[in-house]
């Protein structure tokens, strides 16, 4: 009797569900990442036609304020429910759970195609942003920051979606609430945010802190390589927790949890 290894399981799901990214949800994700960059490029072209240029630091502002703090969380909030949570809601999960494959590998396998799709558009957007200017030496760090945070945030939202009935709401509160609120709390708490690691990798935006952020605490620093490792490991831990949750929770034909 054959059975699937964890690696086979992840590969099978990533390949099997891969075509799903070319549907509406996938193109919405691409538009969310590309729209702000495209808009900035259009504005920049309009300025150039009048012999002007965008203010210095515009690209950095778009990166930190739009891509990292708005687009990336929205991406995760849209993509994660298309993962294993979707099978739970559409009652197709029993079809997967009755295969001789490790149940704990299913969430990551289902999320991998969305991660790859989102990462591709994030890289394209970051490269597009580079056209507006900025230190080319920082480009790898920026790409690493966004892709690393995308990996972590996608797994984080997937975990909350699998753990709580209103998981997406809790995830939104974390990504849009806590991530911004933490700036006025004691500095060490910044390490419990994706934003901290993005800024550690992509370069601090400390110089751009304005009057509205006067309450902000001093920023703590993490070495860029360590920030990337932490984002990667955090993602792995969140996927593992998703896997453990699925493995340990009885899921019946109705898609709901049962008390075993």
């Amino acid at each position: 009797m054959s059975r699937a290894t964890p690696l086979q399981t992840v590969r099978a799901l990533a390949a099997g569900y891969g075509p799903r990214v070319f549907q509406v949800r996938g193109w919405v994700l691409a538009a969310i990442v590309l729209a702000p960059v495209g808009l900035m490029l259009a504005v920049s072209a309009a300025f150039a036609l009048h012999g002007d240029a965008l203010p210095p630091g515009s690209a950095l502002a778009v990166f930190h304020t739009i891509l990292a703090k708005v687009a990336l969380p929205i991406l995760a909030l849209i993509a994660a429910p298309a993962g294993i949570r979707e099978d739970l809601e559409q009652r197709t999960l029993p079809l997967l759970l009755t295969r001789p494959a490790p149940a704990w590998a299913l969430p990551m396998g289902k999320g991998l195609s969305w991660f790859a799709w989102g990462a591709a558009w994030i890289i394209i957007a970051t490269l597009g942003l580079q056209i507006l200017g900025g230190d080319a030496g920082l480009l790898p760090g920026r790409i690493g920051a966004l892709v690393g945070a995308w990996w972590g945030e996608l797994a984080f939202v997937a975990l909350l979606g699998l753990t709580f009935k209103r998981g997406t709401l809790w995830a939104a509160l974390w990504l849009f609430g806590w991530e911004n609120l933490v700036a006025v709390f004691p500095p060490f708490l910044q390490r419990l945010t994706f934003t901290h690691y993005i800024e550690s990798l992509a370069g601090s935006r400390g110089h751009s802190v304005g009057a509205t952020e006067l309450l902000a605490q001093a920023q703590v620093n993490t070495e860029p390589w360590l920030a990337l490792v932490i984002l990667f490991l955090a993602g792995l831990v969140f996927w593992a927790a998703c896997g453990w949750k699925l493995h340990a929770t009885p899921v019946g034909l109705a898609g709901s949890e049962a008390e075993g």
Binding site: M1, S2, R3, A4, T5, Q8, T9, R11, A12, L13, A15, G16, Y17, P19, R20, Q23, E86, D87, Q90, R91, T92, P94, L95, L96, L97, T98, R99, P100, A101, P102, A103, H247, P250, V251, G252, L253, A258, E259, G260
Partner: protein, 306 residues
């Protein structure tokens, strides 16, 4: 092959299956899991297919507990109830994924897919997206995924629901072939005649309890013993005159243009009624069985048990 020892399942405070014990030996054949809606059929199938662990007692398939156990899951195939398939995927691609999740790959996977699709008659249409397949085609694809890895035990939950008569007969023939080939098939249904066409071995469930295990002829006998109600529409007085001469008649009520008969042994009574009507000897325009269904039998059975 299957052994339940006082296995029960609770959904919170609700008892889905009372402590149940039975054994099914190795080997092929079809077993019907029979009971009205809400009897606990799906609950039992979920225990057998390893989706849910029992709240009490033990469930063993091939000597092991099936819950999250790949060694057991590699030997069973499940066709769940309902029209559930992932949206936005094509049949063949999805089937390939399900095969890989069973540890198949390369040439063996392609051969298994070809065999499963051929068995269910979907070889030519497997490249369609699920949303462009008919209900019957989607049911065949669900069956194909369950057959892909050559299971020794095939579990089908209400597989005939929503199928047209032709698809129903095709599926029945397919299940008989599989059973003849050595696969043990468990089919749940709330329709007695469906199960009767497939097998004589049944498990009777009612309100979360296993009432009986055995031959379908015993159920037929219970049906015969239990008076059933029939409404004959037509000239009520003429119908009544004919009915009082029948030995199966237990009670009768006359309506304006119908006679409601309470009769025993419907299998003797109905052919005679049909024959008389065909000869033109009965002014009958309609026949409605009022309680000639499984629910009535089960109510009768539970009264017997009480």
């Amino acid at each position: 092959m299957i052994k339940l020892d006082r296995a029960s399942l609770r959904y919170g405070a609700v008892l889905g299956l009372s402590p149940t014990s039975f054994e099914l030996p190795d080997g092929g054949g079809i077993v019907g899991l029979l009971g009205p809606n809400g009897a606990g059929k799906s609950t039992l199938l979920q225990l057998l297919s390893g989706l849910l662990p029992p709240s009490g007692g033990t469930v063993e398939l091939f000597g092991q507990a099936p819950f999250r156990n790949p060694e057991v899951l590699a030997r069973i195939g499940l066709v769940p109830e309902g029209d559930r398939l992932p949206v936005g995927l094509k049949g063949r691609g999805w089937l390939r994924m399900m095969g890989r999740l069973s540890g198949l790959d390369g040439a063996p996977l392609e051969a298994a897919m070809a065999k499963a699709l051929d068995t269910v008659g979907m070889s030519e249409r497997a490249d369609l997206p699920f949303q462009r397949m008919s209900k019957g085609m989607r049911q065949r694809m669900r069956l194909a995924q369950a057959l892909l890895h050559g299971p020794e035990l095939l579990i089908l939950d209400e597989p005939f629901n929503g199928l047209d008569p032709e698809a129903r007969l095709t599926l029945m023939a397919l299940l008989r072939n599989l059973a003849d080939g050595g696969t043990r098939v468990i089919v749940s249904s709330h329709i007695l005649s469906e199960v009767a066409q497939l097998t004589d071995r049944i498990l009777l469930l009612f309100r979360g309890r296993l009432l009986a295990e055995g031959g379908i002829s015993e159920i037929r006998q219970l049906l015969d013993r239990h008076p059933v109600e029939l409404r004959l529409t037509g000239e009520s007085r003429a119908l009544a005159r004919w009915a009082v001469e029948q030995p199966e008649l237990v009670a009768m009520a006359l309506e304006e243009s119908a006679a409601v008969l309470s009769i025993r042994n419907p299998r003797d009574f109905l052919p005679r009624l049909q024959s008389e009507a065909a000869k033109g000897g009965l002014p009958i325009t309609g026949l409605d069985p009022l309680d000639l269904n499984l629910e009535a039998v089960f109510q009768y059975l539970t009264k017997d048990h009480a």
